[in-house]
Amino acid sequence: MKGDKKYIFLFLFPAAVLMSIFIYYPFLKSIYLSFFRTKGFFEKKFVGFENYKRMFSDDLLGAATLNTLEIMLYVVIFQVGFALVLAVMVDSIKWGKAFYRTVFFFPIVISGAAISLMFVLIYNYQFGLLNSALSNFGMDKVLWLSETSALKAIAVPTVWHYVGFYFILFLTAMSKIPSDFYEAAKIEGISGFKKTVYLTIPLIMSDIKVVIILAITGTLKVFDFIWILARGQNGTEVLGTYMYKKAMIDLNFGYGSTIAVYIVVFGVLLSVLTNRLLKKEEVTY
């Protein structure tokens, strides 16, 4: 449309200014720090690409990346998957919609720390809920957070906690589908599963893409559950906890920033890849 340039500039301007001041400028400072060996808050020494060299030979970072990818797989399949299924179900029912919409939202309002504590007490070896149940049945206690199972055990609350978040986003997206679309489908005899696959999903494809990108970026920052349930031990270290250790505990801001840069680049690559994979599916109607 003519005169678009003016609007593009005008509409983007306020957001751009705020984000530049409070996010991009500070983050550029962090990137700058990644070329230094920092010692607390006051001393730093220029080391060139030393931190980046360290990053590429850091076994712990490699392991954390793999663990993060594993959790990401669970998140994209189960978290997004459950959310979509639940949203389709709730969208299809006649009464009780408001009830389910409300209760499915509950977990999100409870802080990650409190949910983590609950799962600490479910998984605890000595007196946790699961092991108490097992010993009531006369069975041996199980070490739920062992080296082989800890990551999967923690993936359960991680996935479950935010299903409601994507559920609401999907439901929101579905609300824009005009009801005459569904009526038309009904006349054509398309219903149930078919309706979902051929009508609903294509119509909210751009929202699904956003959700998957949010899921991917969210997983790269996963922290609470891992930190509180296993402290990154027993093969549960992920990028979020590793960065936290380096930056907030070790106060090595130089290397911490390097990891932050790594996470941002890695996340952007993943989401560009996702976008490419989903591109052909986009429908405008």
Binding site: I23, I93, I110, S175
Partner: protein
């Protein structure tokens, strides 16, 4: 009488059965099972808020049949609880409004305009989602000190608004991207310019997504402890999370206090959510889409 009752009841049952096929029953069973998993934790937290820390640790799944009020007494001992709720609401609601206005405008551009650099902006937004708070907090705090905004409402509102914009823009743009083109074209023929198109078409049609985005922005702003502790940690501006953290975080966590703190934090979010939920409902937007 009884006879009649029974007859009407069987009639009702028959009608119900007709209305709910086997697939409906299956759907309701699935939804209810999931609902159990989401209701229980809230009950768990509230239940444990009536126990002393030791019982939370060792008997958290038992019903608090002898509720203790000590946690709430400790929490309400802080005379300015109400004031902190006010602070939280002022800062979080301002954040939500700013995010919706600025984010909405930006999202409209990204969803409906074709221009060079659009993909770059999109990638930049995704990157923004990934920037950790620790990597920005020190420079932001330095700026706030320089501008004398530490311990003022703006000192939290501005960083929070900026921090939530990327999320809001992506979600709102995702929603706007698939709004039917004919709406836009009709408006264009009617002589609307881009600004009118935004306020007359996209804003009303996108109400559900604005509502959803606002609840999450509110939630994150309201729950963000880290920035609050550093930017606004004085009584007159301190938000409720920071206040509750103060009573529950020191010298070995007091889990009973933590549970009561979480319960007290959750209430306003639930109220806001119930309020906003009405806007997510389909009926409200139906008219806009058709018109």
């Amino acid at each position: 009488m009884q006879q009649v009752n029974r007859v009407t009841r069987t009639k009702k049952m028959a009608r119900l059965e007709r209305r709910f096929g086997a697939s409906d029953i299956f759907v309701y069973i699935c939804l209810s099972l999931w609902a159990l998993t989401t209701i229980y934790p809230l009950f768990w937290v509230v239940n444990n808020s009536f126990k002393v820390s030791r019982d939370v640790m060792n008997n958290s799944f038992r019903f608090a049949s002898n509720p203790v009020m000590t946690n709430y007494e400790k929490a309400f001992d802080r005379i300015n609880m109400g004031h902190s709720y006010m602070n939280s609401l002022i800062m979080s609601i301002s954040t939500v409004l700013l995010v919706l206005i600025f984010g909405g405008l930006a999202a409209y551009v990204i969803a409906r305009f074709r221009f060079r650099g659009r993909n770059v902006i999109y990638s930049l937004l995704v990157a923004t989602l990934l920037i950790p708070t620790f990597a920005t907090i020190v420079p932001v705090y330095e700026l706030l000190i320089k501008w004398k905004l530490v311990n003022t409402y703006l000192g939290l509102i501005l960083p929070h608004t900026s921090g939530n914009l990327a999320f809001a823009i992506l979600v709102i743009a995702g929603f706007m991207a698939t709004i039917p083109k004919d709406l836009e074209e009709a408006a264009f023929i009617d002589g609307c310019d881009r600004y009118k198109m935004f306020t007359k078409i996209f804003l009303p049609v996108s109400r559900p997504v604005f509502a959803s985005a606002s609840i999450f922005v509110f939630l994150w702003s309201y729950n963000d402890l880290f920035s609050s502790l550093i930017f606004v940690n004085k009584e007159n501006v301190r938000p409720i999370v920071a206040l509750l953290n103060e009573i529950s975080s020191q010298y070995g966590t007091d889990f009973g206090l933590m549970a009561s703190a979480v319960s007290l934090t959750v209430i306003p979010v639930m109220v806001v959510y119930l309020f906003i939920q009405r806007f997510i409902e389909k009926g409200l937007t139906e008219g806009a889409i058709k018109g």
